[in-house]
């Protein structure tokens, strides 16, 4: 490529930028970077360029790098990035995944109730969650922790989450802790780049591609609901859940924060979260808080319920109930 032509391109783009009113810094940098990339690509073409993958992969990764925050994307842009991610999964990992960008269902606010009376500590929910959400097997990441607590204890902080013996143990009860999907979420406020937010249906989500890995949200969360990828996540190809969601269980990368999303890929299709479906004792109740006939509303109306650390004002949508 003629370097002079490059230069002209760059000049013309800069000029475009100055002339148009709506040109912000991002768009300018994007233009400038694109010009620089032409130069780089020309150089790579000169020396083989087999190291960074195929030309298609390179171009896909390039476009992925400059996509917007999920909340600013139009539906077309969402569809495009979903297509790119599916193709990239095929190229780099040889798996056929279907990534959804399903929008929240109108008139729905998800709520969760956990029975401390009924949970027996079988941990089926944790196993199902790991499988459904493609959690990193290398660092044994788990979104849910089940605390074994003595009768009379009130906070999981004094419970034992590392038990491995036949359950249930006499005179103990079990309390599951996961993301509380707070209505007034401290993690959302802590994020400096707005990579995490609450969806209209109440699910607190992370845009994994926008996260910078500062872990402020992890420090801000009073429920230990968030996890960090210290290493590149490892998920065996045959154990991978192929039905994914952009904000849910699609594959994450090193240096990104992730969390329970109430299995957004399932719940937005009307299904129960994996933990609630796997529970052998029926300790987990999930449903629509805005539906007066839902199970969750029955629990809130008729059972003794409490929310963990309610005094913090985080307004969780995760209740505990007992008989």
């Amino acid at each position: 490529m003629d370097p002079r032509k490059n230069k002209i391109d760059q000049n013309s783009e800069e000029k475009d930028c100055r002339q148009s009113q709506g040109c912000d810094r991002r768009a300018f940098l994007k233009g400038a970077a694109r010009v620089a990339a032409f130069g780089g690509a020309a150089m790579l073409a000169g020396c083989g360029g087999g190291m960074l993958g195929s030309k298609e992969e390179l171009s896909l990764r390039w476009k992925e790098y400059f996509k917007k925050n999920y909340r600013l994307m139009t539906q077309e842009e969402k569809d495009e990035t979903v297509r790119r991610l599916e193709r990239l999964a095929k190229i780099s990992n040889n798996v056929n995944v279907q990534i959804s960008s399903a929008a929240p269902i109108e008139g729905v606010l998800y709520g969760y109730a956990f029975s401390v009376t009924r949970c027996k500590g079988y941990m089926e929910c944790v196993a199902a969650c790991v499988k459904e959400n493609n959690l990193d097997r290398k660092s044994s990441m788990q979104y849910i922790r089940i605390f074994e607590m003595e009768h009379g204890q009130m906070s999981p902080e004094v419970g034992n989450a590392k038990f491995y013996h036949p359950v249930p143990v006499d005179d103990h009860f079990y309390m599951g802790v996961q993301c509380n999907h707070c209505q007034n979420a401290p993690c959302v406020k802590a994020c400096p780049v707005k990579a995490t937010w609450q969806e209209p249906d109440g699910i607190v989500v992370v845009d994994y591609d926008w996260c910078i890995g500062c872990r402020y949200c992890i420090a801000a969360c009073p429920y230990y609901g968030r996890r960090f990828n210290w290493n590149e996540p490892v998920v065996p190809r045959d154990e991978m859940t192929k039905k994914q969601h952009y904000l849910g269980n699609r594959l994450r990368h090193r240096g990104k924060t992730e969390k329970c999303t109430f299995c957004i890929q399932r719940t937005r299709a009307g299904r129960l979260p994996a933990c609630a479906e796997a529970c052998p004792t029926g300790a987990r109740v999930f449903g629509n808080l805005l539906d007066p006939d839902s199970e969750i509303r029955f629990v809130l109306k008729n059972k003794k319920v409490f929310r963990w650390k309610e005094d913090l004002g985080t307004d969780p949508k995760f209740w505990y109930f007992m008989d």
Binding site: M123, V130, R271, C279, T281, G282, V285, G287, N302, P316
Partner: protein, 211 residues
């Protein structure tokens, strides 16, 4: 001569607006936009069929429950098609059984541990002695094997009330769409209904090395 108001009185005069502010702020907070208030305000029923299109109607083989919950009719898993030796009347038909050790072969795996130790239940506490394909309540009502909740509910009425409403038991696969829940026997073995002790499915590693 100027009469000076004591400091304490000035303070007292100032405290009323302060108290009022605290009260108003408190009232505003308690009636605020918390999630509890949000769901309490929502009284219109949610139309799943209209909003969620990916839901299968009745994902498993079901029977309609004879009770209604706040949202209307609902379904539960069928039971008879899951009992291996149904119909019972194929053997229990008032003719002598000529196979040796027949009871042991057919029902040897049943471990009866239902009821208190002082007053345990026996077979005919629940099973109908004459019509073996059916169950029987204490007051002699014949109960179909698909509708065991009618039988269990005569003692476990609290659990049954919770089951009908949604605080006991669980839905099958979907939170939306037609309500299909597990039967009593979907989770509990009717002959020894307590959940047994067993090893957890997975182990949670410590959160940090020094834990």
């Amino acid at each position: 001569m100027v009469i000076k108001t004591p400091i304490s009185k000035i303070f007292l005069r100032g405290i009323w607006p302060a108290l009022l502010m605290i009260f108003v702020a408190g009232a505003a907070y308690s009636a605020g936009d918390g999630v509890v208030q949000t769901y309490k305000n929502a009284t219109a029923p949610f139309d799943d069929e209209k909003q969620v299109d990916a839901v299968l109607s009745l994902p498993v083989s079901t029977v309609q429950v004879t009770e209604i919950y706040p949202g209307g009719i609902f379904w539960t898993e069928s039971r008879k098609d899951k009992i291996q030796r149904f119909k019972c009347s194929e053997c229990h038909n008032n003719k002598p059984v000529r196979v040796a050790r027949a009871a042991e072969i057919a029902h040897g795996e049943i471990l009866l541990a239902h009821g208190s130790e002082a007053r345990p239940l026996s077979c005919f506490s629940c099973h109908n002695k004459e019509e073996r394909d059916f169950l029987e309540t204490e007051d002699g009502m014949q109960v179909d094997m698909d509708h065991t909740y009618q039988l269990c509910g005569q003692c476990h009425f609290r659990q049954k009330k919770d089951w009908v409403g949604g605080a006991h038991g669980k839905r099958i696969s979907y939170w939306a769409g037609q309500r299909v829940v597990k039967n009593c026997t979907g989770c509990h073995n009717p002959h020894s209904p307590r959940f047994e002790k067993r090893w957890p499915a997975i182990y949670s590693p410590p959160l940090s090395k020094n834990e």
